[in-house]
Structure formats: C-alpha cells, structure tokens
Symmetry: C2
Subunit: 405 residues, 2 copies
C-alpha cells in the first residue's frame, strides 16, 4: 500500500465527462489499496477566462484580487471532482489551498510555498477518504488567497507529495511522458523511462513544457519521485528521479530546440571595465530576459558582444541597445530574428569526454553553421540559423540518443 499524489491538468478535467474518467482512475487506485491525494487544475480555458475578466475590469488589475479571482477556477474543479467521486461511492473531500493549508509568500501571481500543514490531510487519508486539493493556490501570511503562477498545479502536487512523504507524485497529462526530443520533428524520438531531475530541469527550461520548472526544482530538493504519464491510458510514463548509476550509460538524454530567440551584436565595444554593466543594466531594467551572452577576447582594444533575447522583445531591445551603443562609443549594432537554439542534455556529459566536439562535427557534416555556443555541466547549446532547426535536431538525435533497448 502506497500514498500517491495524482495531479490532473486542465485538459484532463476539461468537462464533466473527462472528470468522470479521472474519478474512475482515482477509484481504481484506491481499490488497489492506495491512499490518494488528488490535485486538480482549473477546467481547460477557465483560468484564461477569469484573467480576461480581470483585465476587462481594470487596465492593471490588482494582483491580490486577480489571485482571489483566478483561484476560483481550481475550487470549482476540486468540488466537482469530489462530487463525482462521492456519486460513485468513493469517499472524497475537496480542499482549497487555505483549507489544507498551503502557506505561501504574499507574492501574488507568483507566490512560493513556505509550509504545508500535513496534519489535516493525514487525518482525512487516515479515514480512508480521498483528498481532492485545488492546485495552483495557497494562502499568504495575512490570509489572502495567493496563486503560484502558470503551471503552478504541478508545484502544488510535488510540494504536497514532499510534505506527506508520498511514494510518488503522478502528473497526468495529454502526452505519454518525457521524450528524447519533439516527436513531431524527430520521428525516432522515444519516450524516456527515467530521467534525472537535473536533466529534466535543463529540458524544461529549453521548452519541453511537460512539467513546470519550479515543480522539478521542488522534486529535486525533496527527492520526490515524479511520474509523468498519460491520463488517456494506463501505460507507464516517464519517472523523473534522482540520478542513478545506470543513467551514466546514456550520455545524452534529450535534444531540445527553442525558436523563441533573437540575436543582437554590439560591434566594437570599447574594452574597459563596466561596459558590460552599462549595457545589460538597462536591458534588465526594461524587463528583458537575456539568455546567452558571448564576448570574444579583445583584439584591438575593442570587442564584439553578442547576446540573445526572446523574440517578442527584439524591437524593444534594439532601440535600447542603439542608444546605449552611442553612449559607450561602440561602433554599431546588428541583429537577427531568424535563429534557433538547439541543445543536447545529459548527465553523461560530465564523464564522457568529447561530446561537444562530436556535436560540432555532426552539425558541420550537415553543413550547419554554428553562430554561438554555450555550455553547462550537463548541457551544450548552439545558436544556428532557424531554417536548420529540424535538420539539426534529427542529426543530433540520431548521433547521440541510443534507440530503445
């Protein structure tokens, strides 16, 4: 007998028919002798509907009130799920964040979980009752309703699993699990049976979008085994777990691409202390998130500085950088929209030498020019011309990711 936390996303609870499917799965889990804590998102589209109401109500809706508004979506799903379960004869009880209670910071719209009171849920579970918890929400220090930000229900689920020392946190979604690459681009992409937290973190930040990145950080910190699986069938999905010795055998766990990238280069930047700060300070202040930064060694007392920004911030960044370039007496600014970042991720990189060299070889053999390179301990990213994205992904996947056993 295990204690399982099951999280169902918006598409899995989109209407009463799907909620009934979810309830049947919960009933089966319980019938198999397990204790179950369920975490639900708002019905698909509901959070957007509520937030649209908020922005119609005021140009800049108050954040506390927007959270109180948005949190009602998960409350509805939790109550409906409990009603369906009880209608099927399964004892169940819904809980809002404040009822659990899930204490958070008061940072509305992006609150962080501070503490979870597990006593109440333990009492409920001890009575053989399924606890259905509204995801995405908590209660701030002053009793205000808070929300955890987009995808926050993943974090709710993992945090509850951590607090209750659950045997696993199951994330039910509309895909089968975590893939070695995007199957729509790379036909040979396959589902991973297991992936390490650190690998998942790198893949999540690269746009794999299966799990909210904060939930993976939480899972890693508290060593919560996370099982990403389909809500449409009973097949095993992907386990996101602590690094294991057997994982080392595979050098690369996945190949990811991010097309939401644009590149700016400041030419002939005078090579003196403080120049980088005077460039990136105002950009950060304008709320633009800079991803990769490349600065070559100075040759003639000046250097070229290249960096990437989200595509939507490109125009704004250009205007800003052109002003700064004049101020710091740089030679000029060039930029490019049509680029993509392609990355390979794997724990094995730590011990397998030559992965980077081989990556560059593979791309070169396809005639793909590398514009920028960035590396971390378990990841290598390259920026290339956007039109080569799919070709690069397929070539790298074929070269690095072994076929399923």
């Amino acid at each position: 007998m295990a204690l399982l936390v099951q999280k169902y996303g918006g598409t899995s609870v989109a209407d009463l028919e799907r909620i009934r499917h979810v309830a049947e799965r919960i009933a089966r889990t319980r019938a198999a002798g397990h204790d179950v804590v369920v975490v639900v998102s708002a019905m698909a589209g509901e959070t957007n509907r509520l937030l649209a109401l908020a922005t119609q109500a005021a140009a800049q809706p108050d954040e506390r009130e927007a959270d109180a508004l948005a949190a009602s979506g998960e409350q509805v799903t939790a109550a409906l799920t409990a009603i369906v379960l009880r209608g099927m004869g399964v004892p169940a009880r819904s809980f809002q964040g404040h009822q659990v209670r899930i204490e958070t910071t008061n940072a509305f719209g992006r609150a962080r979980i501070v503490r979870i009171d597990q006593e109440r849920l333990r009492g409920v579970l001890g009575g053989g009752v399924v606890a259905v918890v509204a995801g995405f929400q908590g209660v701030g220090g002053d009793g205000s309703i808070t929300t955890l930000g987009r995808g926050g229900s993943d974090t709710s689920a993992v945090a509850l699993a951590a607090a209750l020392a659950a045997n696993a946190c199951e994330i039910y979604t509309d895909v089968d699990g975590v893939y070695t690459s995007d199957p729509r681009v790379v036909p040979s992409a396959r589902k991973l049976d297991r992936i390490a937290y650190d690998e998942m973190l790198e893949l999540a930040s690269l746009g794999a979008k299966v799990l909210q990145i904060r939930s993976v950080e939480f899972a890693k910190r508290y060593a919560v085994p996370v099982h990403v699986r389909s809500s449409f069938h009973d097949g095993e999905g992907t386990w996101v777990v602590q690094e294991e010795s057997t994982m080392e055998e595979v050098s690369v766990a996945g190949v990811a691409a991010d097309r939401d990238q644009a590149k700016l280069t400041v030419l002939g930047v005078p090579d003196r202390p403080g120049v980088a700060a005077s460039l990136f300070g105002p950009i950060a202040h304008a709320g633009i998130v800079v991803d990769m930064i490349i600065q070559n060694v100075s040759a003639d007392g000046s250097t070229d500085l290249t960096f990437t920004v989200p595509r939507g911030d490109y125009e704004k960044a250009c205007r800003l950088v052109e002003t700064i370039a004049r101020d710091i007496a740089a030679r000029g600014v060039t930029g490019q929209l049509g680029i993509a970042k392609v990355s390979i991720v794997g724990l094995g990189m730590r011990t397998h030498a030559g992965i980077a060299a081989r990556m560059f070889e593979v791309l070169s053999a396809e005639g793909i020019n590398i514009q920028m390179i960035s590396t971390s301990e378990i990841k290598i990213s390259v920026v290339i011309d956007e039109k080569y994205t799919e070709l690069a992904m397929r070539a790298l996947h074929d070269a690095f990711v072994p076929p399923a056993a």
Copy 2:
C-alpha cells in the same frame, strides 16, 4: 460620517458594465465620507450554472461539495468588484466568508450564521479601505465552506451590519422598494416609505420576494435599519425598521397573494385524540410543508379537515392522504388545485377592531366566496378561487391602503 453595509444582488452585478455602476455608487458613498462594507451576490445566473454542473456530476451531489462549488460564484464577483474599485483609485479588498470570518453551522446549503469576527473588517475600514465581502457564504466549524441558502446574501449583509453596528444596511435591487401590493396587479399600489420588521416578515413569507425572510428576522433581532432601494437610481426606497408609534395610523401596510397553493380536505375524520398527528406526521415526513389547517368543531363524532400544500406537492400529498384516510377510517378525500391565498398585513390590526369583518365584506361585495380563513396578530389570510385573485387584491387594496400623502 456613517458606516454603511451595501448589498448588491445578482442582477446588479450581472456583467462588468453593471459592476462598474456599482463601483461608482460605492465610490460616491465613500467620497461622501462614509465607511463602506459591500456584500455581493454571484453574477446573475452563475449560481444556477454551478448547481446545474453539480447535478450533472452526480444525481445527489454531496452537500458539502455543492457548497464549495456554489461559493465560488460570489468569490468571483467580490474579486472583480475590488479590481474595478481599485482601478478607479478606490482602495478596496475582497473577502471570502472564511476570511472575514463568518462562522456558521455545518448545515450545508442552509447554514446559519453563528458568529462574525468583526476585528478584521474594522481594521480594514480603519485604513480607509472598502471591504468587499462575498455574500451567501461562511465557514463551518471544521473549516468547510458553507452557504446560507437561496437569497443568503441578504442575510450576510444584515448580519455584517449587525456585527459592525452599522448605521444602515442598504439592499440594492432591481425594484424601487417594498410596495403595498404587486403593482402589476394593483395599479394603485405604492411604494412604502417605512415598514416594520414584523410586517415585512409577513409580506416576505407571502411571496413579496424583495428580501430573504431570514435576513428580516436577523434585522429584527439586532434592530438593523434596512434600506431596500434601487440600484438604478438614487431615489429613496423603503426603510425596514422597528415599529414606530406613527406606523399605527395605518392599519394595513400591504396586500399580498400566493398562488402556489393547493387544498385537500379529508372528509368524515373520526373525532378522537391522535388523529391529526397520524395525518400530518407522514406528510411532514415526506417533506411536504403544510400551510393553513382548518378543522371545524365536531358535529356527529366526525369532522372535515382541510389544509393547503404547495402546488408542486399536490399529487404526492393526495396519494399519501388517501392511504392515511383509509387507515383512520375517514369517509374520503377531496382536493382542489385552482386556489389562491390573499392576505392583508398590518401592525394596525392589533388595535383597529373590525378589520377582519370589513375584509369579508369587501370580498363579499365583489361576489368572492371565502373557502378558508387564517389569522395572526398582524395578518388575515383567506383562501379563494384562484380566478378572483387580482379582483380580490385590488378591492382589498382600495379598501384598506390609504393613498400616498
């Protein structure tokens, strides 16, 4: 400077445009130097939508969960109203029942308010902030969300006004106030400037539907002055207040009719102790609310017993009573659907003799036969053939209600 509780019903907050109107009124009240606590209902139709979801989710939705579901409607309105207010520069803050906190019994769907913690609201008001409270809801002893039953937002508002010792509780609605009769039936019906709690209680129970009856009981118990007024203009509505000496001058405050009535007569009931109990016990047990009961003095060791039930329960009551009639050896059962109860209500009846006699005269002059009569200290009701309802109302109104000064 006063402390005012303002309650806005579902039609007053039906969409964002109406919520903006409501917010402007609140802003004006605050600009006039008053502290304001606002109580809002769910947007029109929303409670029905949520409860329909519940009954689609399960044939007999769990009551606790149905309350958690339904309470989300008021939460949405409260947050949206606060967002609009803040967008207009008016400091405001939304509160759910458990945040206030409004403690209730655990009788889901019909919870009763036990205690209101006024400290938190006082602190908010002290800071010059408008408190926007979700009506209709509270928190049970175990932390569960509860609702107060249909029209419960009126009760929320009056209870808050009582707890805060507010100067008045303003109930904003889509009518101008409380009328001496239904203006669609009685053209000379006029708005009352003032009405006593007891009169309002009798009128509310007779179907006047302006105020939820429990809110009037609450207002009476705590002597809360209630001002029923239109949310569409600034004119004075009707004050529901404690009995005043000047009120005695008017003998009848209003004429009301209730068409939701059906009549059953058990003929030849043996006149022995316990017979009434054996008849009405099973009826109450079946959840049928009996309104008027008439039993004549026994003549030949048996009597006829007539009573009224809601029209929707007529068939059920007939089947039940026919069985019982056989058991108690009564002679038979007859019944009639097409009846109506017409009532006149007024404090003045206590001191003005002959009101009942005059009422019967007025009806007789119109050729209307009286089938049943029931009286209380401040009310006389008669059951008549339904087709005479409007005629009776107009005749009684002309005879008893003085025209406006």
